[in-house]
């Protein structure tokens, strides 16, 4: 059906949006309801003064009724149909669809545009991995140095009698290459991190919200002092490009403010000066729950707490909702984290405080004091299963760490062998 024959469908659509009855519109336009009915079902052509009058009643330009949806919308819908790869029997009725259901047509077109944007992002990322000269050079440098180290170390380990001159030379090479490997791997990580902060990473709400917290050092003096509302802090914030990210950041700031009200900075700082950190004692002192104490401790400036503190919060599916990094403790950016984290022990034992000394495999031997607890996200009710969240505070330099529990970051980058918690193979074939 041609676009200009659908004027009636558009009149009907617009009338229904306004909640007008057919009789009301007909009366306003000075025609009978039965004639309007014929027009609305495209059985009578309409133009001239009557079209202008009806458009006036409906509050739109006459061209909106006669020309219908924008040509661009029709074109996008045609592209969507073509790209779907599925034969669309009603392709010749695309104008009718756009004319009768402009809202749904726009949803479909917006979805198609979003897919196209995401496909371009995927292409860009794939292309970057295969063709980015900087990335290629960086990876080449790391692998070449690793190859040199492997060959040299094998010679030293496997050659029975090695002349002192050769042995000394290989020791020197090994030392040089290990330094180069540290530098080149650090450069590679920096390069990837820089790329992550770029445009290609936009559109991931959690990443944007975390960047916002990171930029503020996870501490918000204006919320502490009560001189600003969470919404004020979100205003004109460049890190938060999407509404979804703003929503996440808003929720986290609301939680921050609630925790800060219960445990004001000055009072908490006084408590921390007088005793060693005891979250249970702080919960009693401030009359709040353990989860709030753990969240609050992680939000304190380093000079108040005395050292760094990391924090992770997950929902009942184990998905990380919030991450505050801490030096030396790797947290996966995507996908699931290590099931051995005390966070998950707490998740399956709601309300039970869990404290474990852990050390991450494949990185360094620094132990971390991890304190975790799970709490119901909503007020429990009869006949409704509670939804739990878990929080884990990560404090570096675990005291008296006897046999710390080995954990990873995520299976893909964990070299630990024989781990019963392993979900998928590691990309690291050998332990570092």
């Amino acid at each position: 059906m041609a676009r200009d024959t659908l004027t009636g469908s558009r009149i009907r659509e617009r009338r229904l949006i306004l909640g007008l009855r057919q009789a009301e519109l007909a009366r306003e336009a000075g025609i009978s309801a039965s004639y309007l009915n014929l027009i609305e079902h495209n059985r009578r052509r309409i133009g001239g003064k009557l079209l202008v009058d009806i458009a006036g009643v409906l509050g739109v330009e006459p061209s909106m009724l006669s020309e219908g949806a924008e040509a661009a919308l029709i074109s996008t819908l045609r592209e969507a149909a073509a790209d779907s790869g599925v034969p669309v029997a009603e392709l010749d009725r695309v104008d009718e669809f756009a004319g009768r259901f402009p809202g749904w047509a726009e949803v479909l077109a917006a979805g198609h545009r979003r897919i196209a944007t995401l496909e371009r992002t995927v292409e860009t990322l794939s292309d970057r991995l295969t063709h980015d000269p900087n990335l290629a050079a960086s990876v080449h440098e790391v692998l070449s140095t690793a190859a040199a180290i492997r060959s040299t170390a094998s010679i030293l380990a496997e050659t029975g009698e090695l002349e002192p001159e050769w042995r000394d030379r290989f020791h020197k090479n090994l030392n040089e290459d290990s330094l180069r490997l540290s530098e080149s791997s650090r450069a590679l990580v920096s390069f990837l991190d820089e790329g992550d902060a770029g445009e290609d990473r936009r559109g991931m709400p959690q990443e944007e919200a975390e960047a916002f917290f990171q930029n503020n050092g996870f501490h918000f003096p204006a919320l502490e002092e009560g001189s600003a509302e969470p919404e004020d802090l979100l205003e004109n914030e460049p890190a938060l490009a999407s509404e979804a990210a703003r929503s996440l950041a808003r929720a986290a700031l609301e939680q921050y403010r609630a925790d800060a009200r219960v445990m004001p900075l000055k009072a908490l700082a006084r408590e921390l000066q007088s005793t060693v950190i005891s979250p249970v004692a702080l919960a009693r002192r401030f009359g709040c729950g353990l989860p709030a104490v753990l969240r609050r401790l992680a939000a304190l400036p380093e000079e108040v707490l005395g050292h760094e503190a990391g924090l992770v919060i997950c929902d009942a599916s184990g998905t990380l909702l919030f991450r505050k990094p801490v030096t030396g403790f790797a947290m996966p950016r995507f996908g699931a984290s290590c099931p051995l984290w005390p966070l998950y022990t707490a998740l399956v034992n709601p309300h039970v405080p869990v404290r474990r000394n852990v050390v991450q495999q494949g990185r360094n031997t620094a132990a971390f004091d991890c304190l975790a607890v799970a709490w119901p996200q909503n007020q429990p009710d009869f006949g409704e299963d509670p939804l739990y969240r878990a929080v884990m505070l990560i404090l570096p330099g675990a005291k008296d760490a006897q046999d710390p529990q080995p954990v990873g970051a995520s299976c893909r980058i964990c070299p630990r062998r024989g781990c019963t918690a392993r979900r998928e193979p590691s990309i690291l074939k050998e332990e570092f």
Partner: protein, 126 residues
Amino acid sequence: MGRHVVLIEDEPNITEAIRFLLTRDGWSVDAHTDGATAVEVIRDANPDLVILDLMLPGKSGLEIVRELRGGEGMTALPVLMLTARGQMRDREMAEKAGVTRFMTKPFSNAEVLTAVRDLHAQAGQG
């Protein structure tokens, strides 16, 4: 007459390790770092085998192999290519260019030795 290999690799410590390994295995090793002069060096040396890095300054390993295969007398010369790029597409491109065997970094010494001996044997000179 000993077996002769030309090694084109810009990573000096890899060169040193391979030189040590192959020398102990009875090879004379002629090592160079520059891709731009590699074709000339290989033609002049007329070796039994070539070990070549893919990413070289001046000219890539693939370009070097294409030029070698395009010239006279070098069509059967065994070429072992070392590379940090191990994707299927890279392997296919290397094979198409005329590389005899493809080895990704980091490799083990045993893998290099086995590959060199195999290629030499296959070329009918072992």
